[in-house]
């Protein structure tokens, strides 16, 4: 229902190039991209605040590229929230309702409904100046949703929220989407994309690199960037050197390091990735089913919610995840030498240049 058609926009130091995608009714579309990739600008183009040099925006088949901002029925939550400093929380949320000409009783009702939903009823009369980051974010979200926009555009809506709020607001966004609001959500967090989106677009440096269903995109990244962006720490380029039966392939990570994995042998090079949990660390090599054993030196160890992450330099860097107990047992400290083994079946191959 919302279509971006070959949108381009140039700035002196940045260029949004030929962005096309479609967001269907009911979609939760996440635009994922690193810092400075042009996500915020793209949202501004959709909403009409930045007029594109080229390209069109369609909503339900209607060309809205030149529609006035206020008439597009798109709600946007800005990255920096844009809370009106001269109004209190209530008036901020009531703003779109009042502007639309609702009578004050219905405004009041709706605002309180929204405040309830976003757990900000307790600060509804507060001045906005001394609100905490999370409070501000929820006020802004309530304000944007006040008018039940056709499509909701969110610019990093979760980045300022703490763990419990994060969960709560994510659930709320999912619920909104389930109840029919089409969402376009901009983020640099792979986790947010995977938890929320049914479709994602990955943007890099002003260009859309891949668009599609979330799982398809992340399971079949057409590009090293997309794969890398999933946050995989163990991600390497390989040259395929030989293959055996059953699809087992031997690839080169560096000139001196070979690695075995399963892949379709039509591809001569590509990328491999494996999870930190797939790496087993040990002080001695025992005979194991793992083909891939690398010796390296620990360069960094740090805690993670359910254990430790160890960075091992084997000529290339392997990230491994170990439990708290194993850290004690293996006496892992920076400088210690260890062996890392990875089962071939735990390695995913992405064909590519």
């Amino acid at each position: 229902m919302l279509i971006a058609d070959q949108i381009s926009k140039s700035f002196p130091t940045f260029k949004l190039a030929d962005i096309s995608f479609r967001v269907n009714q009911g979609d939760y579309f996440v635009l994922l991209g690193p810092s400075g990739s042009g996500k915020s600008i793209l949202l501004k183009v959709l909403v009409g605040l930045v007029s594109p040099d080229k390209g069109r925006v369609f909503l339900d088949g209607k060309n809205i590229t030149h529609e006035p901002v206020g008439q597009r029925q798109l709600g946007i939550l800005f990255q920096d929230l844009a809370i009106f400093p001269h109004m209190n929380v209530f008036d901020n949320i009531a703003y779109p309702l009042k502007v639309k000409g609702l009578e004050s009783k219905s405004v009041k009702k709706r605002v309180h409904e929204l405040a309830e939903r976003f757990s900000i009823s307790n600060i509804i009369k507060r001045d906005t100046r001394n609100l905490s980051g999370g409070e501000l974010q929820r006020v802004a979200m309530a304000r944007t949703l006040a008018l039940n926009p056709r499509v909701l555009l969110l610019d990093e809506p979760l980045s300022a929220l703490d763990t419990s709020l994060h969960l709560e607001i994510s659930a709320l966004l999912r619920e909104l989407n389930r109840n029919g609001t089409t969402m376009i959500h901009v983020t640099h967090s792979f986790d947010e994309a995977i938890t929320l989106a049914n479709r994602v677009g990955v943007i890099r440096n002003g260009s859309l690199v891949q668009v599609g269903e979330t799982l398809k995109v992340f399971q079949n990244p057409n590009n090293d960037f997309v794969a890398h962006f999933t946050g995989a720490r163990n991600f390497f380029k390989v040259e395929q050197t030989s293959d055996s039966q059953h699809g087992l392939v031997i690839g080169n990570i560096t000139n001196n390091h070979k690695i075995a994995f399963f892949a379709n042998s039509n591809y001569k090079s590509g990328y491999i990735l494996f999870s930190e949990a797939a790496v087993v660390l040990a002080h001695t090599i025992s005979e194991q089913s793992a083909l891939n054993i690398f010796k390296g030196k620990v360069v960094d160890v740090f805690a993670q919610p359910y254990g430790y992450e160890v960075v091992l330099d084997c000529g290339f860097r392997i990230h491994a995840h170990i439990t708290w107990e194993s850290k004690e047992k293996l006496n892992i400290e920076p400088g210690v030498e260890l062996f890392a083994s990875i089962k071939a079946s735990a390695i995913r191959f992405i064909p590519g240049a």
């Binding site: 501004k44 909403v47 009409g48 605040l49 006035p68 901002v69 206020g70 008439q71 597009r72 798109l74 709600g75 946007i76 800005f78 920096d80 844009a82 009106f84 400093p85 001269h86 703003y95 779109p96 502007v99 639309k100 304000r143 944007t144 006040a146 008018l147």
Partner: protein
């Protein structure tokens, strides 16, 4: 808001600020105090009861206030235009806006009388309508507005420049028309500057003599009344009138400033 870290009572920085500031306050206050100490209190009290004096002060205040509010209606949009849009000759227009500040007041009066009377288009139109502005409160308002308008335009423009464009954009996306954005977001956020502009324009209007006296000697506004007293009766009678006028003005300003602080 205070800066902690700067609040220590006798930090050298604050001391320096206070010292320099008191020079300015002294510079402003000394001449006024000098005037007051030369005037017996009973003269001030007596003058404060003269209906002619009170009437002309009231006339000054009301005409200047009305002129300020009335001319604000087109002046504030102009300020917004200058703050937000680029257009050809903008630099020239910015310069033109400053001109009435610099124009010597009697020249302003002469230039204005050329417009509101006699053979100008406006003058002709007015006399066809049987209206003659010379010597009317309208003429006084026009003269006051002419010399004081730039203060409002400049203050308001600076105010609008400081309103984050992002907030206006946000309001647009929330369904507000540009017009609504203007008066619900831009205007209130530039409020402090605009108020300063109002106060400056209003105050500047009160003080105007040179231009006013050419377009309307009567009805006598305060500045004309004080001048008239000075030439007719001398300083002894002009001073108390001036003091009464200044006291009332001070009162009005303190009030207006308190108003701005509330926000």
């Amino acid at each position: 808001m205070q800066l902690a870290g700067m609040t220590k009572q006798f930090s050298p920085f604050r001391l320096a600020l206070m010292l320099l500031s008191s020079i300015v306050i002294l510079f402003i206050v000394a001449p006024l105090v000098g005037m007051v100490v030369h005037t017996p209190f009973k003269d001030i009290a007596a003058t404060a009861n003269e209906s002619q004096v009170l009437h002309s002060i009231w006339l000054s205040i009301s005409i200047s206030a009305i002129a300020t509010v009335f001319f604000a209606i087109p002046a504030i949009p102009l300020s917004y235009l200058l703050a937000r849009y680029d257009f050809p000759l903008k630099g020239l227009i910015n310069g033109l806006v400053d001109l009435p500040v610099v124009i010597p007041h009697s020249v302003a009066g002469i230039a204005l009388i050329g417009i509101i009377s006699g053979d100008s288009i406006i003058g002709n139109a007015m006399s066809v309508l049987g209206v003659n502005l010379i010597g009317t409160p309208v003429a006084i308002a026009v003269a006051m507005a002419f010399v004081s308008l730039p203060f409002l335009v400049n203050a308001a423009r600076d105010g609008f420049l400081q309103v984050p464009v992002k907030l206006e954009q946000a309001a647009l996306t929330l369904g507000a028309s540009p017009f609504k954005v203007f008066y619900t977001i831009s205007l209130p956020l530039a409020f402090r500057n605009i108020l300063t502009g109002f106060v400056m324009m209003f105050a500047r209007g009160l003080s105007e003599f040179g231009a006013v006296v050419i377009v309307a000697y009567h009805p006598m506004v305060a500045s004309v009344m004080i001048y008239d007293r000075f030439t007719t009766f001398g300083l002894k009678y002009a001073r108390p009138a001036a003091i009464v006028f200044l006291s009332i003005s001070l009162f009005v300003f303190v009030f207006l400033r308190l108003l701005s602080r509330k926000r």
